[in-house]
Subunit: 332 residues, 2 copies
């Protein structure tokens, strides 16, 4: 690959695609050109990007194959059709869940398992909720050995794309005006509500989102037997996911030791000073690269071998676009 | 006590006090008279109640002592000063946390430990988050024996009183207008945010709210060693608290067996049909007496000896006013 890459962003008009373009610019990714692809519906539209005004191209496989790197920020169905053919010529980073659990496709968080990238041209970018949790848990796992992780999420509207954010804001306006709150993106009205239902339900009673968190974390950590569970809940926040996590560890752990480990971890910010009302929150973790970790305390359940913590990270950044661009950085 | 009681509601202009008056009316509590007490600031104000217009009286201990039953819907400091003297003549049901953990004061949820009321004239009404969780967990505890309960809460603005609801709604309006979101009731702006901080922080890193959940559940269940933990999080909802709960049980338990037990439990409604997008949510659990329980599934952590569930109950009703009135019903 040349020193400067021709990069394609497929799904460039979506929330994640737009964020990928911003992150490429912000991180000074060595670019020759960025080509923005979307569906027929958006083709020829002019969009503002940090690189200047750009024209959206209708996706065509041949044109995309001419790129050095392709970010797929589209549906799993689209990825299943196009990712492997594209990867014959381009490096493909797929943000959908289509290939995340495929044994022949690596699922990568560069701070955790960059070695998995080697020799691959199609890489899966992980689920946002899993990625945010994993950033906090991996350093603790390496230091103390996590046996169990019990997660309850507080997931932002952005997880359902730009339409999700719009539906939340329009819904809040309607509620405040005393009008009925419509919903089509979310299963129920989200404004002033919480909805314990993200993605479809599976036969075991968990949602697909919840099982993604459990199964993807095992794959990224390389721990096929790690006990992870999640209750995934949509809450009326804009774009940063929060998570309450309880862990049981093999080795004894103290909050101070955990903070020390996390303070050294790349991509993590320890935000943990109750005396000054400092802890992770969506309004302070949003539009930031680092995942915030705080409320670190000895578990009342697992005692000296456990911790409770609260994490918060931008769903569109470490939960999607940032991680995807970091993968590309590792590969060039 | 006469068949019809003279009832005093102290703090009648607050969110819980106003709700107590509504519940007394709705449940046709055998009343001779309801006297509404509040601070100097509200004295002589006329308020609409389901019993008709009523005049707020300035609280005076002698006048309150003339009541048969007094509901204290005020601060812990106020309760510490007045509850025991009042209880020399009246039955006193205190909604504050002042006496909840006192060995000589019963802490009661009538569906769980009504026997604790016997011989007492001062009764503590439990924490709202604990009460909502306990309604779901007690029937499961009796049937399967709960060893561990790990709770993450999604607590509504009403937990901070009427001022909390107002601050949330005004904050949402400000946010939507592109203006800064002020906060004084909550530690941080709550609109479009979640705040993992309710009540003050303790030395062990937990908040007082979180420890109330753990310690009060042990007392109500009569299980001083029950392992309970909580991460208490304020979310931008109006008045129903939701909670994601993971339990480990002594006996094996299936979701079907749990549903059967919960379906028979008084004060609980099983709301658990994912196929029709039916599960507990604040917008459907609010302004209802029952606590909703759903998302019941086998725990990925504890296997056949564990469950995950999601519960939701009205913070002002089972979490406060309803439980208080139910206590009074048991005592007359």
């Amino acid at each position: 690959m040349a020193n400067s890459a021709v990069v394609g962003v497929v799904g460039a008009t979506g929330a994640v695609g737009a964020e990928v373009v911003k992150v490429l610019h912000d991180r000074k990714f060595p670019l020759a050109e960025v080509k923005l692809f979307a569906s027929e519906r958006s083709a020829d539209r002019q969009v503002a990007t940090p690189f200047g005004a750009s024209t959206i191209r209708r996706f065509e496989a041949d044109a995309a194959r001419g790129c050095d790197i392709v970010f797929l920020c589209v549906s799993g169905d689209f990825a299943r059709e196009h990712a492997k053919p594209l990867a014959q010529k381009a490096l493909v980073i797929d943000n959908s869940s289509a290939f995340r659990l495929s044994p022949d496709v690596p699922l990568v968080i560069p701070e955790i398992n960059p070695q998995a990238l080697k020799g691959h041209r199609l890489i899966a970018n992980p689920n946002c909720t899993m990625a945010v949790a994993a950033m906090a848990l991996w350093p603790l796992h390496r230091a103390f050995g996590i046996r169990k992780a019990i997660i309850a999420s507080y997931q932002a509207a952005s997880g359902a794309g730009a339409e999700g954010i719009t539906e939340l804001l329009e819904g809040a306006k309607a509620y405040l005006a005393g009008e009925p709150v419509p919903n089509s993106v979310f299963a129920h009205p989200l404004a002033f509500n919480v909805v314990p239902h993200i993605d479809r339900f599976l036969d075991n009673g968990y949602t697909n989102e919840e099982m993604k968190v459990a199964l993807e974390m095992r794959k990224v950590f390389g721990e096929p037997d790690l006990a992870v569970s999640c209750t995934a809940v949509r809450v009326p926040t804009i774009r940063a996911h929060a998570e309450a996590i309880t862990i049981e560890t093999e080795k004894p752990v103290t909050p101070a030791a955990a903070r020390e480990v996390l303070a050294k971890a790349k991509g993590v910010r320890v935000v943990d000073d109750p005396a000054t009302r400092t802890y992770p929150m969506p309004i302070t973790a949003g539009e930031r690269y680092d995942v915030d970790v705080g409320r670190i305390r000895t578990s009342l359940i697992f005692g000296a071998n456990g911790l409770d913590l609260f994490v918060c990270g931008d769903q569109l950044l470490k939960g999607a676009a940032l991680n995807a661009v970091q993968i590309a950085e590792q590969m060039i």
